[in-house]
Structure formats: C-alpha cells, structure tokens
Symmetry: C2
Amino acid sequence: MKTGFVQFRPVFGDNAGNLETMTQLISSVDADLLVLPELANTGYAFTSKHELGDIAESFDDSQSLDELQTLAVKKNCSLVVGFAEKAVGSLYNSSALLRPDGSRELYRKLHLFGAENLFFMPGDIPFAVHNIDGARIGMMICFDWFYPESARVLSIKGAQIICHAVNFVLPWGQNAAVFTSIQNRIFMITANRYGAETRGEYSFTFTGESQITNVKGEILAKAKQKEDTAVVTEIDPGDADNKCLNKHNDLFAQRRPEFYGDIGGKATL
Amino acid sequence: MKTGFVQFRPVFGDNAGNLETMTQLISSVDADLLVLPELANTGYAFTSKHELGDIAESFDDSQSLDELQTLAVKKNCSLVVGFAEKAVGSLYNSSALLRPDGSRELYRKLHLFGAENLFFMPGDIPFAVHNIDGARIGMMICFDWFYPESARVLSIKGAQIICHAVNFVLPWGQNAAVFTSIQNRIFMITANRYGAETRGEYSFTFTGESQITNVKGEILAKAKQKEDTAVVTEIDPGDADNKCLNKHNDLFAQRRPEFYGDIGGKATL
C-alpha cells in the first residue's frame, strides 16, 4: 500500500492559496493514503475566536474539503487533512478523512495546545478506527501525542496506521512517534508543516521533518526541516496486526488491563 | 532531596558477592533515595525455574534484603532494589522498597520480557505509590516501560519519582524514559546494570547508562555504558506536583478520561 505525507507551509488566512498548494502536492504523487498537516486550510496563529470563525470551514460543506474530496476521487487516494472547523455554535481543530468513494469521517482534537484553548473547543468525538481500501486508520492531531492514551486507544481499537496531522512547535514530537510505533506496533504518519507565523502576541516556528515510522519504530521516510514535499512509501499495514515483539512477547495479549483502571478514571491530582 | 542510582554488574548466582558490591556502592554516597538494578541479587540469565528457585530470595526474610535494609537504616536512605523473589509456590521478578524506618514495600513486575515468561510469574500487585521521607515514589521494572500505562497509572496515583529498576538489553529504554518524564511530568530514576551474561541458549548484553530525568525530560545525570557507580543528584520532588506545561496546559486536568475507557478493558486484537 502506498502511503505518505504532504508537508508544506500554509499561509495564514489564505484558504484558497493553501488549497492550491495542497492540490499541487497531492497531484504530484501516486498514493493510496496521504496525510496533510494540522490546520492546513487556514494556518495556525489565530488571535481571536472571531478571526477563527471567519475562516474556519464546515465539515459537510466547504470549499477546501469538497475540492480535496474531488481530488481524492480522481486520484483514487484517501486523504487525511487537518482543518479549522466551524460547526454549529462551536469551533474545532479537526481532521477529515476523505475517501475516494466520496465518503468522509471527522475527528476533533481532544487535547488542545497552548492558546488553542482560547479559540477552539476540545474535541467531543471518541477516537475511532476507519476502514479505507487496504487498511484500518485512526486519526489524532498534534498535541494528542502528549497523551499516550491517544495512540493506545486507537491501537487497541485496531488501527494499523495512525494519521497524525501536526503543527509541531515543541522539539519532541518526531522522536516520540518512534516510541509510539514501538509500543503499539503500528505505523505512524506524522504530517507536519514548516515555516513561522507571528501574529499579535503569538509567534510560532514549526519544525517540518514530517516522517513515517513502521511498527518497529524505524523511520521509513523523513522530510527536511523546510520544504514543500509529498513523500510516499510502500508499506504493508498487516504488519501492525502482529503484535509479537519476539516469541515470548505478544505485546497486546500480555497487557494487564485489570491494573490500568485508573487511566479511564479521574486523576487524583 | 538527594536521589540517585547504583549501577553495577551482578555476577550470576553470586548473591553474596552482589550484596557486597551493592553495599560498597551504597556506602560510598550520601543520599535519601537510591535505586538499584533489576534482579540485582542474582543476575539475569536463568535457564530453568529450578535454577531460579534455588537462588531467589523471599521478600520478608532474606539475606540480601535484610542486610540492605540494615544499611538503609544506618545510612538513613530509602533503597529500591530489584530482586529475584521466591514466594509461596511462585517466583517473581520483583522490586523492594526498603525504608530507613525498617518498613518495606513490594512490587512484582507486571510485564515480563522474553524468556522471563518461562521462569517467572507475571506480577499480581497493583501499581502503588509509597511515601518515603520527602517524596512519593512508585516502582516499575524494566519492560514495564514498553506499556505506557505503567508510568501513567503511577503518575495518576500521585507518584513524584518513578524508581525504575532495569536490566536493559533493548536500545530504547533510556530515551523512552525522557518521554515518560515529559508526558507525566515526573522524575524517572532508571537504574540499569551493565556487562554480559551467556548461559545455556541465552545471551544478553546490558546497556548501562543509568540515568535520572526531571519533569521536563532533562537528563540530570547519566552513567557510562560500563562502570560501577553510585550517582546522586539534588531534586525537588514537588516539581512533579505541578503538571502545567504552560499557562494554558495543565496536563493532568486536561486529560479526557471519558475517551480512554478502552485502555482498562480487553484488547480487541
């Protein structure tokens, strides 16, 4: 299965231009699954809810998602793309899965980072696994990685590939993805943006280096820190169904869920 | 608070000699808490249950733990030490907390690695947080790190310092501890052994490089790959009570336990 990521530098507020850049990059490769960065339609550095509301787009009916879905159909390629979502009465930092059969799925970031907490609502949709042609995928967004529960829940639910749309500003995300792959024996596609945004009191530099890791935590492909690129590698998603680290360790069969009960409860601190 | 680790090379089957080495290293430093490696009393490369049963020691009454506890009292220092445990009808890969007031606590490794599964029983004691003078500590052992639930449960229960007795043979453990510290904002003391053991069909090389990480994932101290050493650093365990990554992110308050329910259930794979 040909899977990959698209890395680019969204221009803040230029939804049409960002769509054009994404379209060009997606069109440049042959793939079955491509993951694009977080907030790829709008850019990142919002300074108010009002501003966000003006350029966020709806999941069901928006120029960015509709045109990308048309491209998904044309290219026969599933796309996962991060987007600023305007829902009824709420704004979310979301990802959409756009399938080549015209269907789509939604995930809303459960763990918001920094000032995102001022502008977005935290997600309200459970982690879910979705079938695409040839694989079972799960979506999480950027700071969700800080919570090991995110990838764990997706993996327990049967995800083979975690589609991780990100706008990394902290230095750890790419390395952490290696350990997430190892511990869950899943593929991670980390689609990052690059460039910098300074708006109002906010200033961010994004780290690029989008990557794909296999179930052993090996880095199959990695982008440079600053480049527009679409990178595709051949993987067998079925590798993620075998949770055996060695002949004595079936990682998931040997979980001890009876001792993990506190994780689903409330923290005591 | 003065916390640290003892790194050495246990000699297989030489419980008395290993106890002497530990005693010398512990005696060489001034500390409030010291963590020692996994299976520090016996060495690692067992080839049969029979052999293990012959040299494992009981938690309540054993030369190794009794003498180490005497040392804990004398030095006014809490010790966490990995040991092969002989219980009634079962053998465990365990850690003991030996307090200077003469009390002790027990943890039995929940996630066994490789051929350990042939010789030891998986642990049967829930992750627990224990008070020592100046801190709340939790114990986990080596391969437990492969399960992010281990450190997470301990942190949720209020551990400030995770005392990680290990015999690392895989290359990832020390780096993974950095992310465990970051994600949980806790101190990790990783006490590893070094050297190699070849017995029967088994051959292991242990990686040394014991380390201490703070709540930001910074490495406060690190041993060499091969050296007997006791290393102590000054830390403030209270740093682990502040889970704020920045002014918008209180990591634990912003957990979404209602979406993590699968972790405490059974895996679907």
